[in-house]
Amino acid sequence: MRYMTKYIRKYGVLFTFSILLVSGEAFVDLLQPTIMARIVDEGVASRDMDIVLRLGGWMLFITAIGAICASGRNIVSSWVSQRFGSELREELFEKIQRLSFAQIDRFDRASLVTRLTNDVTQVQNFVNGMMRVFVKAPLLGIGGIIMAFRLNPYLSLVLVVVIPIVGLLIVMNMRVGFPLFLKVQMALDKLNSAMREYLSGVRVVKAFNRFDYEVDKFNDINEQYEKRSIHTQRLMALFSPGVTFAMNVGIVAVIWLGGIRVNGGNMQVGHIIAFVNYMTQILFSLTTMTMITNMFVRAKASTGRITEVLAEQDGMDTKAAAENSSVSKRRELHGAIEFDQVSFSYEGADGEPALKTISFRCEPGETVAIIGSTGSGKSSLIHLIPRFYDATSGVLRIDGVDVKEMDTEELRDRIALVPQQSILFTGKVADNIRIGKPDATEEEIEEAAVMASAHDFISKMPEGYSTLLGQGGVNFSGGQKQRVSIARALIRKPDILLLDDCTSALDSKTEASIKQAIRQFARQTTTLLVAQRISSVRDADKIIVLDDGEIVGSGTHDELMVRCSVYQEIYRSQTGKEAGSHAG
């Protein structure tokens, strides 16, 4: 709740004001039956038209006040809750932007999106409700009870009996209902995941002809969900009529007891009418409160999920000490990378570390290639350089400065990464390339696209560089996306270029021409390149062979062909030729 206090401080006054207005509304509702009783008892009973008209006038007057209160609080509560929701969402969004990869991995991305959307809405609705019916209902309930007692303590005996019964029913409803709903929810989750799985695997299902099996599986899950839902809903169906019935019996009792009192001359009929009205109001407030509790439970869970994110420490010390960053600014920067005994393991992974005491140097302007089998730690290594993750031990230096002492933003500005999976954003192709260099001119964009062999296909599209990419680039083929993603990196003219196996969807010809372009362009740029194909790495200045997170060989292609058995194996597997026959 700590994170909500600033909103309370900010909107506290308006919030209170809105609650005051709601109280006004409730007060009007509460006053009416009493005035009504007086109309009947004083006006009608004594056949005095003046009293009827005077009290009627009062009634209209307070109704008007109620209208003003209602309109006022509607505007205030809408304004406050929407502003609160949008600010909370923004705070959360900004926070997420500051999280580190390790934190994001821990939260799971889908869940972060849910928190941004559903959870914020949930809390916002609750706040909005608080300024409306949530406050009004208890006020009406308590006020109704007080007014009823003041009006006629004797008849209130009925309330003393009925309200605890109703309260008990409501508590039981929640006690029984909550665990049941959890179960239904679990069954629903299962149903949804079965469905999702089917949709993703539909090709395999078709390929293996397993329709009956899939249908059976789904029907089982579906049936279970059906059973649980019916069971739960039926149980719940018991309570609501129970509450209403208890209150209704109360009404009968009030009239009966009232009749006895009226007969003894101790009470007037108007009181009975008013009392019945109050009872209806109390009933309304009780049932509404059940609903509020339900909403509260959900809002509380949502608040928990939101604050869990907000409570995270900012990912990394992105702003290092100022003097350090000024140190790095003063220097002539060229992009020398040095791994010094670097080890790294992922948070929570208790197995082997992903990288084990890696040491190598990469001089400015050099092209260093990293090759190795799947899961050998190539991507992990690349991700340490822009500080997506920090080394568990050892030091990673760029131009002689420990990356942990650099300003992360500045560091990343000097690096361009082409990730393994191309991530593009909704918008124009040009804008996607421009992400690499926000102030890029159209010529620069085109130049980058030419280098990435993307210009041809982009300019062939009807709208050229203004072609809109769908979410995740659905309307582009894998190879096209990779090329746009490469162009986005090249336009940066970075000191360090990181290519993470980014040509997998490209045919060899396209790959070769991109490589050629990069080679020319990257004379000044330190290039670190991850690949699986020997052909992609063979003309690098240095090749590092990774196996199980360790460096098992480094050197030029020719050196490795002589020295490194793992490299020879890879070579053999890709060419079908013996290493010896080709070396030299």
């Binding site: 009416q32 005035i35 009504m36 109309i39 009947v40 009608v44 005095d48 009827v52 009290l55 009634m59 209209l60 109704t63 209208a67 969004f93 900004e94 997420i96 994001i104 939260f107 991305r109 869940s111 972060l112 849910t114 959307t117 559903n118 019916v133 009004k136 929640m174 709903f181 949709l199 002809n209 249908v215 789904f218 029907n219 839902s229 019916i230 719940m236 169906a237 609501s240 129970g242 209403t244 209704n248 009749g259 108007g270 209806t280 049932t287 799947t374 899961g375 361009a416 990464l417 593009l424 954003f425 979410q471 995740g472 659905v474 045919d507 060899s508 070769a512 597997s573 890709q574 079908g576």
Partner: protein
């Protein structure tokens, strides 16, 4: 961390059993649909869909009618309440002394009415729970079975999220509208008409006084809905934009971080967020006026009845009891008025949901096997493409004029640049898609003349993106051959080179895999998929980039096994790697959906065609 998005349809209303008689329920409604659903979704054909839903309910219809009878009777009984209370009051006031005989009789009837009301509500809630859940369960079942019959093109051209939402959200909407709104709509309508009748019977003059609320309600509803309709639409649009932006930024976290894109992303977010806030605030304010002002109108009606009733009572035109009855009726009269508007909206979105479900049900299915279709049993496996043409749309063919023959037992490699149409060829062969022109035959018979079932059973397909299901390793391997013995499973795993890593898994073959095998590496998943295909022991083998994610060393280790698997089987291989390709009997080079070259590796290398060129540029 469970994905909570699907839970939103289980709102407070589910916890409530029957609808609570609160006046302010509508205020909760705008928020309830969560972030992704529209405020009110309009069905295209309300009546038609409703009728279809009705006819769809089958046996439940009878039960539903019974429930409606209960609602009808229950509401009628409730309507008696205020009247009886009025009579009870009269029993105390007429003759200035209490007529206990009359009072007791009236109260007993009242009590009886309440008992009936409660028990009817109970029965109705009980039955309704069963009916609505059975209906949606059946709907879900039908929809899922339908998905089995839809052609692959359907799934390829639609987003999964949207299909998911049809199966969960839309069906839930149907459930809600059946179980709750239908009941509310009925009881509300009866309540409205009933109250009016009772009031008219009691005192036409006083009815006139309380009816002053009607034009006010109408005016209010019209003013409000006219604004909110537009505003909610705009709100939905902004919401969609915002959701898209958020989702993209979070899932593209890597690119955001790598390019220091955070600030731009935040600025963009702020813009849309602010836009949304403005629209939402206005929408909220306008729709928020509805309830409190209705309450005020209701109070006004109360006051009108009190004053007019007071005057009439003073003049002796009516009894005090009539005022008492009237006060209740006038409240009951206004409440359904606003309830109905709200409920109608919920009903509409329910019908719109049903419409989207029916849309799927109406999709064209994979064509049935033609009469006289033959079972394809142990084919020799000669495959022939004759002038094959295919395109989603007729004007832009993806594959055209494609002819080649793959002899039984031979291996064919498909080579070509990205997007050349290699995968489409495979999809056509397995009849995932049907050709638009020309023909494909196996052992001399057009594949459309085989039963689809037997055709696909003859294929072993290992795809580019391997898909594994949640279940154990063994279950996944047996997917293509459910009756395989443990021994067969192990042999297949060994042949595919998957045995090593399976042994290292915590529970070996019984290790459960998470959805899509998330706890295995991409390479391991590929190995499992290959083992799965091996186990099925097909006559024709299709390997679509099957080894693209396996590193070359591992690939080398299973290459032999693959060759062994390909032995004696007609096989089709798509690969980028030359080492995989050059051993094939025939290499077919495809570009822009057409064959540009075909022949063996040596033949093609002798020439100076695309293949030779490609090979040289790639070769080390």
């Amino acid at each position: 961390m469970q994905d909570e998005r699907n839970s939103k349809s289980k709102g407070p209303e589910a916890g409530q059993g029957a609808a609570p008689p609160d006046q302010d329920r509508i205020q909760l409604a705008p928020g309830r649909p969560g972030m992704n659903r529209g405020a009110v979704q309009k069905p295209k054909n309300f009546k038609g869909t409703l009728l279809r839903l009705w006819s769809y309910m089958g046996d439940e219809r009878k039960r539903l009618m019974i429930v409606f009878l209960f609602i009808l009777a229950g509401t009628g009984v409730v309507l008696l309440g205020p009247y009886l209370i009025g009579r009870a009051i009269d029993a105390m006031t007429i003759d200035n002394q209490v007529n206990f005989n009359l009072l007791h009789t009236v109260l007993l009837v009242l009590l009886g009415a309440y008992v009936i009301d409660a028990s009817f509500n109970l029965v109705q809630g009980w039955m309704m729970a069963g009916i609505s859940q059975r209906i949606v369960s059946r709907l879900r079942k039908t929809l899922f079975s339908k998905l089995q019959k839809l052609p692959l093109v359907y799934f390829d051209t639609r987003r999964h999220g949207e299909l998911m939402s049809r199966l969960s959200n839309d069906i839930d909407n149907v459930s809600t509208s059946v179980s709750q709104t239908a009941a509310q709509l009925m009881s509300g309508g009866i309540m409205l008409i009933g109250s009016l009748i009772m009031m008219l019977v009691l005192s036409p003059l006083l009815t006139l006084a309380s009816l002053i609320t009607v034009p006010l309600v109408y005016l209010l509803a019209r003013t409000v809905t006219r604004r909110t309709k537009q505003l909610f639409k705009a709100q939905q649009a902004e919401l969609g934009k915002l959701n898209g932006q958020m989702e993209e930024t979070v899932s593209g976290f890597l690119a955001v971080k790598a390019f220091n894109y955070e600030r731009t992303a935040i600025t963009e977010f702020q813009g849309v967020n602010e836009q949304l806030r403005k629209v939402s605030t206005r929408a909220q304010i306008w729709s928020g006026f509805m309830m409190p002002l209705l309450a005020v109108i209701s109070n006004l009606g109360f006051a009108a009845v009190a004053i007019a009733g007071g005057i009439m009572a003073v003049k002796g035109m009516i009894t005090v009891g009539v005022i008492a009855s009237f006060l209740s009726y006038s409240r009951q009269f206004v409440r359904p008025l606003n309830d109905l508007a709200n409920v109608y909206n919920v009903l509409q979105s329910g019908i719109a949901g049903a419409e989207r479900v029916f849309e799927v049900l109406d999709e064209q299915e994979e064509e049935n096997d033609p009469p006289g279709a033959v079972e394809l049993v142990n084919p020799r496996g000669k495959v022939e493409f004759q002038g094959v043409r295919f395109g989603y749309r007729s004007d832009s063919p993806i594959v055209q004029n494609m002819s080649f023959t793959a002899e039984a037992g031979s291996s064919t490699a498909l080579v070509g640049p990205t997007g050349a149409g290699k995968t489409t060829v495979i999809n056509l062969l397995a009849r995932f898609y049907d050709v638009s022109g020309g023909s494909i035959s196996i052992d001399g018979i057009d594949i459309r003349n085989y039963t689809r079932d037997s055709l696909r059973r003859s294929f072993g397909i290992v795809l580019q993106d391997t898909y594994l299901f949640s279940g154990t390793v063994k279950e996944n391997m047996k997917y293509g051959k459910p009756d395989a013995s443990d021994e067969e499973v192990k042999t297949a795993a060994r042949m595919a080179g998957a045995e090593g890593f399976i042994r290292r898994l915590p529970q070996q073959y019984d290790t459960p895999l998470t959805e899509n095998g998330g706890n295995l590496s991409q390479g391991q998943r590929q190995l499992l998929a290959i083992a799965r295909a091996m186990l099925a022991n097909p006559s024709i083998l299709i390997l679509d980039e099957a080894t693209s994610s396996i590193d070359t060393r591992t690939e080398l280790k299973i290459q032999e096994a693959m060759l062994k698997m390909m032995e004696g089987r007609t096989s089709f291989v798509i690969a980028h790697r030359l080492s995989t390709i050059q051993n094939a009997d025939t290499i077919i080079v495809i570009d822009r959906g057409q064959i540009v070259e075909q022949g063996s590796h040596d033949e093609l290398m002798r020439g100076a065609g695309v293949y030779a060129d490609m090979h040289r540029s790639l070769s080390v």
